[in-house]
Amino acid sequence: MSDLETFRKETIAWLEENCPAEMRKPAKSEADVCWGGRNFQFQSDAQKQWLEVNAARGWTVADWPAKYGGGGLNPAEAKILKQEMTRMGCRIPLSSFGIWMLGPALLQFGSEAQKLHYLPQIARGEIRWCQGYSEPGSGSDLVSLQTFGEDKGDHWVVNGQKVWTSYADKADWIFCLVRTDKEDKYRGISFLLFDMESEGVTTKPIKLISGNSPFCETFFDDVKVPKDQIVGQLNRGWDVAKYLLGHEREMISGGGVSNEMPSIGAAFNEIVALDPIMRAEMAAFDVDTLAFKAMGELFMDELKAKKGHPAQPNMMKYAGTELNKRRHELVMAAGGSEALEWESAATNNGAKARNWLRTKANSIEGGTSEVMLNVISKRILELPGA
């Protein structure tokens, strides 16, 4: 038996033994997701136990080095773990912006001391992170950032305001872009980490059209940030941010198609049998979904092999988010008047409608579709001008 076959066998056995039955059913809603953090309320013992056994083994971040709290798996092993978890329906033990976003940036840009300090806490789900990028008046345009960190020798004093800070009201720490040089408009920005319990930090949830409030406005009023909490070089926070945005785009671009990516027409076959026009639209959509799935496979293959254009994540983000919005428009149409219900038990409190509205943000967050198209036209197609 090859090493990988052995690994697969052992993995299956471990999952069978350690994954509680409750954690093998799909999460029903946002509330079932394990986000970790200082103030996290576990929904159940099973959820807590599932996090702990994974954290102990380093499998919340299976492909990170073991010394940083990871599982130290190679890519082939990590893929097998993912496959087997998917096959058995195991939930992700820990969802975390620390894992998806900050972690990769720290691995790339952090000092060894920072890695040893922050990464294991992220891996164990002890710190919940939020991201402070956007500001009022600068959505896709990060260059016009206003939040300012004044140099006070061994610390900065940060003043300003962020918006679209995901779960800022629930997060323990923030990774945040702060202007540290007012002269250099295009650089002059640094990537700082600080505790959300620092004096001077306040958050205010933003109510969305979906009725939910996953984002906040976040205010900084003379917040002290020690100098060792900068990632990467002073005034080079852009490099970190760009690297991290790339990760975010990959994550969001994957959103267009779920793992299973079932046929939408087949899911609504009774409806389309009565509505030939909807059937045609769904057939076109299924074609596009199959094609985007193939693109996703090609993209991942190229990414792994370090082939492909470096700006390709922008294309994936554009196409994937637009596709997902279309999917939810079709789901609403197929649902008809029932899908309009907003507060009924029969519709799980208007889940379809709320999910549909949520998807409208896909093509805005992490860089709008328009910004993605700009990047494609400049960096891939090399079209001239502004």
Partner: protein
């Protein structure tokens, strides 16, 4: 008759625009939503509609109305749409009145004065599944003594729990798909055996799922002729389709207008975002679509008012076209607003929600595109 508004129609448009913008701007919808009003609309506003004469548009002069038509009703609907005003105008003063116009003098005398005065509210119990498909009406209305007994369910009856009378389409003969055998009934509020489940919809309208358990009606309740309800139903649907299409023109136009305003003021990368040609071209395309949608809705109203043969075709084309155009308007609207478009604080999301509700009301763009094909014989 020209398709633009003549002098009288322009005056009506001006007064409706002014009145609704003043009395029921988007803030009015927010108020009724946020106080979780079980009706979902303002009875005071409804009386004001009566005072303005709007509710009299579709009633004949003989019945104390203005004897105008869907083109004029469409003018009101458009302003309702632009302001997202919650109102029973569509179900009551347009579709409801048009159904009553096909009914007996007794029924008209009973309901029209209250409607015209803005006191009475009607609701429409047509659909039996979550997609509009009136050709599949199957609910049973058995003869019972001199009257009828209703049993069955209706879905998504807007204003159902607030209405003084519900127009119910049911089968007195035949089975789903038959043209003959349909009958329309005027069912009074609180009639014994009716049960309603109120549900709030995404656009804050309140709909009811209605169950009829041995609901006994007298023969007086029949609107039009027994078994010949298709004709009255067609009137009702034609009016409802044109009026909801007109409201969608208003919704799309309102969404477009606030988006254009936003494009003119919001700055990004040191420019007003309306300077970006990528957005300009999309806005110009959207304008073109909305203008064209407006035109076919006017044309459909005119054809329905004139009772010409092509009216059915034009009405379905209108609902189909506006469904696509106004959906484009709200999608472009939210996207062009960027992040703030996702917040409840800005109005554009409310336009998106209203558009979704209206798109299902009286058949969506797919249903009507299919109907256009069928009417063309393919």
């Amino acid at each position: 008759m020209p398709l633009f508004y003549d002098e009288d129609q322009s005056m009506l448009e001006d007064s409706a625009a002014e009145f609704i913008k003043t009395e029921a701007p988007v803030a009015h919808l927010r108020e009724f939503r946020d106080k979780n009003c079980p009706d979902g609309f303002s009875h005071k506003l409804w009386e004001q509609f009566g005072e303005m004469g709007f509710n009299a548009i579709m009633a004949s002069e003989e019945d104390g109305g203005l004897g105008m038509g869907l083109k004029e009703a469409g003018i009101i609907m458009k302003e309702i749409g632009k302001n997202l005003a919650p109102s029973p105008f569509l179900t009551t003063a347009v579709a409801g009145v048009e159904a009553l116009n096909g009914g007996s003098k007794a029924l008209r005398d009973r309901y029209l004065p209250g409607i015209i005065a803005g006191k009475t509210v009607l609701s429409l119990a047509i659909d039996e599944s979550s997609k509009h498909r009136p050709e599949a009406i199957a609910m049973a209305a058995k003869r019972s003594g001199n009257g009828f007994q209703l049993n069955g369910k209706k879905q998504c009856v807007i204003h159902g729990i607030s209405s003084d009378m519900m127009i119910v389409a049911a089968r007195t003969a035949g089975s789903a798909g038959d043209i003959e055998g349909l009958t329309l009934f005027a069912v009074e509020k609180d009639t014994k055996g009716m049960e309603m489940d109120a549900v709030r919809l995404v656009d804050s309208a309140v709909a009811a799922h209605v169950t009829f358990n041995n609901v006994e009606l007298t023969a007086d309740a029949v609107i039009g002729e027994v078994d010949q309800g298709q004709e009255v139903l067609d009137r009702l649907l034609r009016a409802g389709r044109v009026a909801s299409a007109a409201e969608m023109v208003g919704v799309g136009t309102g969404a477009m207008n606030i988006t254009l305003d936003y494009l003119k003021e919001r700055k990004q990368f040191g420019q007003r975002i309306g300077e970006f040609q990528g957005l300009q071209h999309r806005a110009a395309h959207l304008y073109s679509e909305m203008e064209i949608a407006d035109a076919i809705v006017r044309k459909a109203a005119e054809a329905a008012d004139a009772g010409v043969e092509s009216a059915e075709l034009l009405v379905s084309a209108a609902k189909a076209k506006v469904g696509v155009a106004s959906n484009l308007a709200v999608r472009e609207g939210v996207q062009m607003h960027g992040g703030v478009g996702m917040t409840d604080e800005y109005d554009i999301g409310l336009y998106m929600k209203r558009d979704r509700g209206l798109s299902e009301f009286f058949g969506d763009s797919r249903y009507h595109a299919n109907r256009v094909a069928q009417l063309y014989g393919y």
